[in-house]
């Protein structure tokens, strides 16, 4: 299929130079794609989609009586990250995660950073993710954020920026693994020639991370489980997938009970002690005796066991404080404060409506900014200025005036693009990148991560709930060859 008509326009394209030549790292891929007929490519695309359907990697469309199920849209053209770029991302994320872990620990203990006035103490105290119940907690191994998904974007200047950190229960890693396994069957030849770094060892590394941070009471032989809200949760597929891949049990709150000072699982042979819970249930629902009283998803008494150091929760409760999009603006300062280093990966310029002069600027420029609620994700609670109506802008102006603490704004970035297959030709679509970071003894970053793609033409919103899809992400192992040298 030809790329002759493919136009990178004014955007940074991940596979092509501005003059239309393939980037050297992408050359073998483009060569192979050119050699395939449009029919073959479309057939491969369809085959990949039907494979997702058969594997049951589907969403139930709520409110539809027939229970229609849809796959998370997937495009078979991979996104490529070359060796050098990746080395820098890896370093930057590793730095960021260590600093954030120290920050969370400080917030729940001495609060040095607040006493030193680097972050307004009130901003932390009023954060939705700040849990006073967590003050004084000592997570085993000192690790709060075992699993993080950090969203990166590449702007038209070619640089990567951190858009946000997801430190609560980031999902999507199962798609990384499934996308890869599907694509290996779809484009095996290209794969063979490009030394793409494997991702299949992620479940093993996750289990390793969880075992490394097990409580002393596990005596070196921890029982690990995955806690899910249940089969009707939209990420249930991932919960089951990770449990299966790690070879551990997938439990629901009702399978667990606190007994004799430990968390126990109800089994056919009686009670069995649980040491590490990789929980995919939010803080608020995890223990009705401490957090939300009406929760049916948690385990009463669990936090008391945790407080006594007899249980590992991954991630630890209370990490949401660093998820706050207003506190995000302080991450560069956090890195300097705790590590004494310059941040490797920059933040996106952000206006915090908490600050009166910044609020004023935001209100005057709603038409060109992206406004986000500090505590929401998934593309909800968001205004994309250039794509919005005056009515929507007025609505957000009202929301900001009423509750400035809850809003931040960022310039509208022109995210980089990658080609996707549209009918019988290629078109560019905007993407972001969510690498997953594991933190046990030291940080480990999955090579690549989830490339989310805004499938709607011109759209900048990549979230699956807003019409986004995904692509496989290929991190190349060797320094890339100049074009024509293959």
């Amino acid at each position: 299929m030809a790329f002759e008509t493919y136009d990178t326009e004014i955007f940074y394209d991940e596979l092509f130079e501005p003059d239309g030549r393939p980037r050297s790292s992408a050359a073998p891929l483009i060569q192979r794609l050119k050699a395939m007929s449009p029919e073959d490519l479309v057939r491969q695309q369809k085959a990949a989609e039907s494979e997702f359907h058969q594997l049951g990697i589907t969403f139930t469309v709520y409110g539809d009586k027939a229970g229609t199920e849809k796959i998370f849209p997937f495009d078979i053209i991979p996104r490529i990250v070359n060796h050098e770029e990746w080395a820098r991302i890896e370093k930057g994320l590793s730095q960021r995660i260590q600093a954030l872990n120290l920050f969370i620990d400080d917030v729940y203990h001495d609060q040095k950073i607040l006493k030193d006035n680097l972050i307004p103490a009130d901003m932390v105290r009023t954060s939705f993710g700040f849990k006073p119940e967590c003050i004084g907690l000592k997570p085993p191994g000192g690790i709060w954020i075992h699993v993080t998904g950090t969203d990166l974007v590449r702007s038209s200047d070619g640089n990567y920026y951190v858009l946000e950190d997801n430190l609560r229960c980031p999902s999507g890693v199962s798609y990384v693994l499934e996308n890869r396994s599907v694509l290996k069957r779809t484009l095996p030849q290209v794969f063979k020639n490009m030394s793409v770094r494997p991702v299949d060892d992620y479940p093993h590394r996750l289990l390793d991370t969880l075992c490394q941070t097990a409580p002393a009471s596990a005596k070196g032989n921890p029982k690990v489980v995955v806690l899910t809200p249940g089969a009707y949760n939209s990420a249930y597929f991932e919960h089951a997938f990770l449990a299966q891949q790690m070879g551990v049990e997938l439990v629901e709150g009702r399978d667990l009970v606190v007994l004799d000072g430990y968390v126990m699982a109800r089994t056919t042979k009686g009670f069995e002690r649980v040491d590490v819970i990789y929980r995919r249930v939010d803080d608020d629902f995890i223990d009705p005796l401490v957090f939300r009283k009406d929760s049916q998803l948690g385990v009463p008494g669990l936090m008391e066991v945790y407080r006594k150091g007899r249980l590992t929760l991954a991630n630890a409760p209370g990490t949401g404080v660093a998820d706050d999009k207003a506190i995000y603006t302080y991450v560069p300062a956090i890195i300097r404060y705790y590590l004494g280093e310059e941040p490797i990966l920059p933040n996106v310029q952000t206006f915090v409506c908490w600050e009166p002069d910044q609020k004023k600027y935001v209100l005057e420029n709603l038409g060109s900014l992206v406004v986000k609620a500090v505590n929401q994700s998934g593309g909800y609670g968001m205004l994309v200025g250039p794509h919005s109506t005056l009515e929507e802008q007025n609505k957000f102006a009202g929301l900001i005036q009423k509750n400035p603490r809850d809003y931040i704004a960022q310039p509208t970035l022109s995210l980089s693009r990658v080609p996707i297959i549209v009918d019988d030709h290629f078109e560019g679509r905007h993407v972001d990148l969510r690498p997953y970071i594991l933190y046990g003894k030291k940080p480990y970053i999955i090579p690549g991560g989830l490339t989310r793609v805004a499938l709607k033409k011109g759209s900048l919103v990549v979230n699956s709930s807003q019409g986004g899809g995904s692509k496989d992400t290929w991190v190349l192992d060797k320094p890339s060859h100049p074009p024509g040298r293959r």
Partner: protein, 333 residues
């Protein structure tokens, strides 16, 4: 293993087996109708009776015509025992036990469900209906093959097999009960020209016709009943099912033969022994229907015992803090 998972696996086994049986009943009847001079409507009624909810059928459909019964048994999502409902529930149970069963099994149940639910919007033309029923059966066989060959024969597998064998024993008992009653109000009443065909159809309803002939050659009602109830080797006879269900149950708790360590083992052992030492002449003399009815009742109590021994949340010891325990809901029998 987790009690909740054991429950899911038990019902996964049951629902796949149930879907297969219902599809086989339909397939056999379709075939049978071609051999009968004209379609006697009463041949479709027993099918709706066998699956145990004739009242619901009558209320929603009225006459037991061929089309009504097929719709009710194959696609009706309001009928909890229709093939589609069974697969829906099988899939839900497979979904919640996905990390325990093999990926092959999950994918197969998923595809299996999509095939049948796809047929809901685009039902097979009459000529392909028989083929469709056959496909459902084969899919079920494939599932049991996959579970035998891709999954460790561990505790989870034993619960899956228990579900499958319980369901099979129950369905064999029911089809025999209902058909025997329809075919033969009195044991001595032999002799319509279609007698052989009708009895063969009953055997086919339990996939038993060929194996029966290898053993007994001639069709005799008492022998047919004996084969379906008491044959030690035929994998769908009630006795065979219970003998093997008992093996799985003992494997779960590691109980040596000849002893029992819980109420479920005790009840299942007693029921199996009844079949081991039963005589078909005695059974028919005392009433086949009564015997089968009694059997189904006891099988249900074994199921209840199984639930309370392994699957229900046991009360906590006294010293524990009072916590709210969610009662586990039993799935539809």
């Amino acid at each position: 293993m987790l009690s909740r998972l054991a429950d899911s696996l038990f019902w996964l086994g049951r629902y796949v087996e149930r879907a297969e049986n219902v599809a086989r009943f339909i397939g056999v009847n379709l075939n049978l109708m071609l051999d009968l001079p004209m379609e006697p409507a009463h041949q479709w009624r027993p099918l709706a009776v066998t699956t145990g909810d004739y009242a619901a059928f009558e209320k929603n459909y009225g006459d037991p015509t061929r089309d009504n019964v097929i719709q009710f048994l194959m696609y009706d999502v309001n009928n909890p025992n229709s093939v589609l409902s069974c697969l829906q529930k099988a899939r839900e149970n497979a979904r919640t036990s996905r990390e325990v069963i093999s990926s092959e099994m999950w994918e197969h149940v998923n595809i299996f469900y999509h095939q049948v639910s796809g047929a809901l919007n685009n039902p097979p033309h009459d000529d392909f209906l028989y083929h469709f029923c056959r496909q459902v059966r084969f899919n079920s066989h494939l599932f049991s093959g996959l579970s035998d060959d891709t999954m460790s024969h561990n505790e989870a597998w034993h619960f899956l097999r228990l579900g499958r064998l319980f369901e099979r024993a129950d369905k064999t008992a029911r089809i025999l009960d209902v058909k025997y009653f329809f075919l033969l109000p009195k044991v001595e009443d032999i002799g319509t020209p279609y007698d052989i065909i009708l009895w063969t159809a009953l055997l086919k309803s339990a996939s038993a016709s060929e194996m029966y002939r290898k053993k007994h050659s001639l069709i005799q009602p008492a022998k047919v009943a004996e084969f379906l109830m008491l044959d030690p080797d035929f994998p769908r006879s009630m006795r065979y099912c219970l003998v093997n269900a008992e093996k799985s149950l003992r494997a779960v708790a590691n109980t040596p033969p000849g002893t029992y360590s819980n109420n479920a083992e005790k009840q299942l052992g007693l029921l199996r022994a009844e079949l081991d030492y039963a005589d078909v002449g005695d059974i028919i003399k005392n009433g086949l229907h009564e015997y089968l009815d009694n059997f189904e009742g006891k099988l249900n109590s074994v199921g209840d015992a199984l639930f309370s021994v392994f699957l229900a949340f046991r009360p906590l010891p006294k010293e524990a803090e009072p916590v709210q325990i969610h009662k586990m809901e039993t799935q539809q029998q």
